[in-house]
């Protein structure tokens, strides 16, 4: 779980508190909406997270 927090901080530049909030949501609900952004930026973030071995996907906004 610390690893997930660490990666979220690295990839998004978040505070530990914010990264932990998302990590806990992932841990309890199985997923967390991390960010809403343009296709290319989301693709870049998905790629970074997957390089760290985290299961991340991007979905179209409603």
């Amino acid at each position: 779980m610390d690893y997930v927090t660490h990666v979220l901080q690295k990839v998004f530049g978040w505070s530990r508190e914010k990264a932990e909030k998302h990590m806990l949501e992932i841990h309890t609900k199985g997923k967390s909406l991390l960010t809403r952004e343009a296709f290319e930026q989301a693709e870049h973030h998905v790629h970074q997270l997957q390089q760290f071995g985290l299961h991340a996907t991007m979905e179209r906004g409603e």
Binding site: D2, Y3, Q51, T57, M58, R60
Partner: protein, 159 residues
């Protein structure tokens, strides 16, 4: 395995001999995550972006290929057998540049997650059942050791 010295640009860890050997073995398993393991999107990509998934898998495989060479180099250099060590000297040390901590975390996580994927992505309850199967134990031990080494590294960088 424990942190024994913080330098400006590097961290120094002390390992028991068995830990050094296991770390060498575990890192030697890299990569474990199949390059086509991750999808960019579950709901599908927009029109005109269909090739992105294929490119993504190729890039993942390329990164793993580059990392594999670095891992082999790391095993040879940082975790080499110390031929001068006395048999009564059960501890060895390795130095990790701070800039490479994330890289090593990433490699360990690949081996841990990839081992889990190869076991069929078991949940916690299934993992406990699998722990009774001798043929699966080595993979579970690999996962455990990776998690342990990741924890030590994260503690060392204060995460």
């Amino acid at each position: 395995m424990k942190l024994v010295e913080r330098r400006k640009t590097a961290l120094v860890f002390e390992l028991r001999e068995w830990e050094r050997r296991v770390l060498r073995t575990v890192l030697g398993l890299y990569p474990q995550i199949p390059p086509d393991n991750f999808m960019i999107s579950k709901s599908g990509l927009p029109a005109g972006k269909a090739d992105e998934q294929k490119l993504h898998h190729e890039l993942f495989a390329e990164t793993q290929g580059g990392n594999r060479k670095l891992v082999q180099q790391f095993i040879r250099e940082a975790l080499a057998d110390d031929t001068s060590a006395s048999p009564h000297q059960p501890l060895s040390r390795f130095t990790l540049e701070r800039a490479r901590v994330d890289w090593l975390l990433q490699v360990l996580n690949d081996v841990r997650v990839g081992s889990w994927v190869k076991l069929g992505r078991p949940d916690e309850a299934t993992l406990r059942k699998l722990a009774r199967q001798p043929d699966v134990l080595p993979q579970l031990e690999v996962m455990e050791f990776c998690a342990y080494a990741q924890m030590v590294l994260l503690d060392a960088v204060g995460s």
